[in-house]
């Protein structure tokens, strides 16, 4: 029996925009188990990023209950590491200083040299061993995200929250980064008890299937959970083998139809732009 790392109960988020109430999330309920990789997918505007910023602790004006390890969520926390789509790194720090700065926030007792040593180790892990002294602006978008992942992993938080981390990366590098993340995450432990718990927001179906244990599909206006699908593929996964199987394509089509049904219902069967 797996334990619930994150519990989301009756989560509703409403914005007030120019005197008009706007419901971003409506009555969202699901749990994430210890060591589980859960993706949240949905079309733009379905509230998936809002959901993640609630979990990050940045957006605090919500109704409902969020429990982390059984305790109510209160703001940001040291047990959660975050990778954003942009600006996870501070532009004025070199990559290794960025990582060391992150480590400093969770492990105050380490000396500066120890922190930098860990930073270098993790840079090596994400393939940036030679780029520790570069500033983010000197790196490509993909390399910046590698460094952001390295920081999140080096901070060794129980939970990783990733908000469309690869959406701004070109397709070829996106695939490479997905495989890197898969390898690193599977490497965080052999059993769910030791692995990191990940909540990963994306609008890329293939990305979600490759990485996740379960996929939460959100529909928009208001954002609510339409379905939670378990991904039936064994780990460790190999992308190129996986995508050739019939099961993969069947599963993918099923997810896509969930995706499209939502949109076609909403706009009345007209042409769909994702």
């Amino acid at each position: 029996m797996s334990t619930n790392k994150i519990e989301i109960k009756n989560l509703t988020v409403q914005y007030a925009e120019k005197n008009k109430q706007f419901t971003a999330l409506h009555d969202v309920n699901f749990n994430v188990s210890q060591g589980e990789f859960v993706s949240i997918v949905g079309a733009s505007g379905c509230g998936k990023s809002t959901l993640l910023s609630v979990l990050e602790g940045i957006y605090q004006n919500f109704q409902g209950e969020i429990l982390i390890d059984g305790h109510p969520l209160e703001g940001t926390g040291k047990e959660r590491g975050v990778v954003f789509q942009h600006y996870s790194l501070f532009p004025w720090m070199t990559t290794r200083k960025n990582i060391a700065f992150g480590i400093k926030q969770v492990r105050k007792n380490l000396s500066k040299t120890e922190r930098l040593k860990i930073a270098d180790e993790f840079l090596e892990k994400v393939g940036l061993g030679d780029f520790g002294n570069k500033y983010p602006s000197q790196l490509s978008g993909g390399m910046q995200q590698r460094a952001a992942i390295a920081r999140a992993l080096a901070m060794d938080t129980d939970i990783l929250l990733m908000d469309e981390p690869f959406s701004a990366i070109d397709p070829k590098n996106r695939v490479i980064l997905q495989e890197l993340l898969l390898k690193l995450w599977e490497g965080t432990g052999d059993t769910p008890e030791t692995r990191k718990t990940v909540v990963f927001v994306t609008h890329d179906i293939d990305e979600a299937i490759l990485l996740s244990d379960r996929i939460v599909v959100l529909t928009s206006h208001p954002g609510t959970v339409s379905e939670i699908v378990a991904v039936p593929f064994a780990r460790p996964r190999n992308r190129s083998e996986l995508v050739q199987t019939l099961e993969y394509n069947k599963f993918r089509n099923k997810l896509l139809s969930l995706f499209y049904d939502d949109i076609t219902n909403k706009i009345g069967g007209e042409e769909v732009v994702l």
Binding site: S88, P91, W92, F101, G102
Partner: protein, 307 residues
């Protein structure tokens, strides 16, 4: 690397140099000494320096730019020489031959140096003091958003007062001209630096603030390791503005009541109709301002090299 002789030697700038030398040997039309040996000495020194420097500039575009600038200077000196001593087109007391200015610089350089020291000293004192007060204040007020919003409006009012009008009041308040100058320069550079810091702090990218939030950085770290560096580009924008206002202000102030300084030098000698020294002073002020700005830009580039 292959060095192309043509690229280094047969350039318009070098032809203009030869032209400048040749022009010096034309017969003088004006009566007085044209001091051409000073100009020749200066031109030869400049040319040697140019040849040496171009050998070190590896980028073709930068080398071209450098040589073009040198070329312009030579061309200007040719025209100056022709218009003054050679063709006598201009009033020689208002437009002395350029060699005479160089000679003046040679005799006056100690006096000039003292004046530069006085001016630059006042600027640095007032400006650095302003930065030391305005940056922390802007940082804290920008951070405390409500107080900051009010402060923005107040600073708009105070910065709209041209600082030069503080001079009479400053003279009443403070005992020496030097302290008045420091005070006025402090005021003049305080507002742009303060406004720059405030707008930098208030406009830190929300995504950067979010990143800092999810890292749970402590308040002092947030202020000094996140907000301060993130605002640095805007702070420098304010500092540059403050520095250039400071020079304008100080030289004007020096023309009013000082006993030394570059503005004083220019004003003092123009009162006597000594326009050679006046022009010498103008050129020196230009060189000093460029020099200080250049050094400040180096400092800025170093601190902002992450951009």
């Amino acid at each position: 690397m292959k060095i192309n002789i043509k690229d280094y030697l047969f350039r318009l700038a070098h032809l203009l140099f030869i032209g400048l030398i040749v022009v010096q040997f034309l017969p003088d039309q004006s009566g007085g000494d044209s001091y051409s040996n000073y100009l020749i000495g200066f031109a030869v020194a400049a040319e040697i320096l140019t040849l040496a420097l171009t050998a070190f500039i590896s980028k073709k575009e930068s080398r071209n730019l450098f040589l073009d600038i040198v070329g312009f200077i030579y061309a200007f000196l040719i025209l100056w020489t022709l218009a003054t001593s050679k063709l006598n087109l201009l009033n020689p007391s208002l437009f002395p031959p350029f060699g005479k200015i160089l000679a003046q610089f040679g005799t006056d350089w100690q006096k000039i140096l003292i004046n530069i020291k006085s001016s630059v000293g006042i600027i640095l004192q007032g400006f650095l003091l302003a930065c030391a007060v305005a940056v922390p204040l802007g940082l804290f007020l920008g951070w405390a958003a409500r107080a900051g919003n009010a402060a923005t409006y107040l600073s708009k009012f105070f910065s709209s007062i041209p600082p030069i009008v503080y001079i009479p009041y400053g003279i009443a308040l403070l005992p020496t001209f030097r302290s008045v100058s420091v005070f006025v320069i402090f005021l003049a550079s305080f507002w742009p630096v303060f406004a720059g810091t405030m707008s930098g702090v208030l406009n830190v990218d929300k995504r950067i603030m979010d990143s800092a939030k999810v890292l749970n950085v402590s308040k002092p770290e947030l202020l000094f390791q996140v907000i301060l560096p993130a605002s640095l580009p805007q702070i420098f924008l304010g500092c540059n503005q403050g520095l250039s206002v400071s020079f304008i202000l100080l030289t004007s102030a020096e023309m009013i009541g000082a006993r030394d300084g570059m503005g004083y030098y220019v004003k003092y000698y123009s009162d006597f109709g000594d326009y050679t020294r006046t022009i010498t002073g103008l050129l020196v002020i230009g060189i000093v301002v460029i020099g200080v700005t250049f050094l400040f830009n180096l400092f800025q580039k170093r601190l902002l090299k992450w951009r």
